[in-house]
Assembly symmetry: C2
Amino acid sequence: MTHRSGRHFLQLPGPTPVPGRVFRAMNRDVIDHRGPEFGRMSLGLFEGLKRVFGDPAHVFIFPSSASGCWEAALVNALSPGDRVLLWNNGFFASKWGDFARELGFDVEVLTGDWRHPADPGRIAARLAQDREREIQAVLVVHNETSTGVTSDIAAIRAAIDGTGHPTLFMVDTVSSLAATPFRQSEWGVDVSVCGSQKGLMLPPGLGFCAVSDRALDRHRDGAPTPRAYFDWTEMLRENERGYFPYTPPTTLLYGLEASLAMLREEGADATFARHTRLAEATRRAVAGWGLRNYCQDPDAVSSAGTTVMVGDGEDAEPFRAAVLERFDMSLGTGLGPLRGKVFRIGHLGDVNELMLMGALAGVEMGLKISGIAHTTGGLAAAAEFLAAADSPADA
Amino acid sequence: MTHRSGRHFLQLPGPTPVPGRVFRAMNRDVIDHRGPEFGRMSLGLFEGLKRVFGDPAHVFIFPSSASGCWEAALVNALSPGDRVLLWNNGFFASKWGDFARELGFDVEVLTGDWRHPADPGRIAARLAQDREREIQAVLVVHNETSTGVTSDIAAIRAAIDGTGHPTLFMVDTVSSLAATPFRQSEWGVDVSVCGSQKGLMLPPGLGFCAVSDRALDRHRDGAPTPRAYFDWTEMLRENERGYFPYTPPTTLLYGLEASLAMLREEGADATFARHTRLAEATRRAVAGWGLRNYCQDPDAVSSAGTTVMVGDGEDAEPFRAAVLERFDMSLGTGLGPLRGKVFRIGHLGDVNELMLMGALAGVEMGLKISGIAHTTGGLAAAAEFLAAADSPADA
């Protein structure tokens, strides 16, 4: 392998760049996971996570990827064969549906054009038809990482409430948490699912399940779905004193302690404003290149990542390969049916103006090198926007 | 928190001390898990792991604790409700049985005195009775971490073969792998389960499932048990080119690359000889203190950890607390029914003679401080043995 100078630009919508402070925190000897120091640390982590998720009753931490917590949500809060209503708005929503089917649930899919967010009205209409109350959970991906389209969780909650349907509401916050506002308690979300490698700025390896009291009640009182590793009951019992039923990933928990401190120090409003600003700069660059944002709804554009379409008959993959080879930058690939048709620019996590400008320069030069039809001017448009934007301190 | 000088003695039978080389390897920026560099790295890891496990058909790496791979073994190679025969020889074997029951399998338990290893003759006798061939898998823990008793996997295999019973053979190698010989292919083990934080010298966070072709066939052809996160099919498909169906814990994989290199450089025979030597020194210390090894079978004493009994009416917990408080050393607690009756000295992973002598000194001084009845002389006995032992270079 050849040495490449300077830092790699990891410009995916996750995993995101891990800050040096988080790496240094993780770079610490493992301690006894049944000892007093460990218990104190974990209790602090649970409190910090509750703040980030918006005051759920509890946040479970699993040694898993985020997709493990898709499974945890389903097998803990539902009974075998339960019907769930999934809004399919992209690759990850599809995958969550696949998980649910593989686990034996009855998955009913609503879908629209992937270029638009979930439609609260259609969800409400379906729930209103469900007079037998067969639907036990509504599943929505907050920010669909594959498309760069953000759905309006509060509006979906209001639509559910309007029908009086008692369904649980489960939300994938994998690429939204700590990038875009999410308020679990206020929005009446029963289970939210997340991972460590996006807005939380950690390496991959931790999954999170934030739960409401209602979800915990359903867990306790429902006919149980078979589960062992992802079971909440024993996890909750051990978590009460800061412990886990099996060995947790200690060094990632050290990192989480650091990333929660960083988010607290920046302040949630400033974190969200930064993501909004960087996302807007990216969209101006895309417009400046004369390319199309995959997301067609200006109210649903993602603060976490932008999915950019290449022209009909063009292939985004050689462009991505050229950018990696020439400029040492990883851009997100087109997933599932979007393979080759789009590339994705991540702008969430520990990213600032100049990191983004470097990334956008890499895109602009890569477009030129690989012969993707575009106009120059994207980079300049982003710079103009960022120079004029409120400084972070005023945001 | 007060600063404590010098290094913490993490003398558990896992997690084990993480070498600086592994930490430095992990201290590297996350790369694109769908990119070419990642694929090349993973393919090398699979090859390295196959060497360590003794040539299974494939080794799955899951973002999970080792217990996640208990579940992976069961849900992938068995059909719903299948009967399994579990030898219960300790806390972790019991837990594996709990997992199997929670997942809906029919668990038949054989047990003996926890102070002895699994009895191949009784396993064979039960299989011979099973004329209907209802038993689909035999589950045995190779080294039971809670008791410090190692079972003879090759002898159990021979006993199974003697009956002609077609059962699968599943083995928990969590605290045996890379501490004591394990040869998956030669011993006809179909699925073995391990984690990262023991002999592999990593922080916790990776689970491993090493599988035979027979287990893969059973997986492919059997009536499937519901599974999603731990499913082998999609994992295998992605693994073929070095990828994963969901985001893997990249930094732990960097660490694995380093630890596999270290094991290769030391050489398996030297690794096992070192563990045998340190374990024998520990047992001489225990005898020198006039304390009893929980393991009563001299042929089954563990190379990974020694479980030491305190006297009737004595409580090992204040002793453990005193050792932590006074000497900054974590010893293993007594698990389940052994709580308070034993303490556990870990001597596996990246441990050498002088680290062990420091640990044994901490035990001897702790016994004195906390008033556990003993005779001095354990430390001296260990030193005498280690000084006389072959040097590592001759081993």
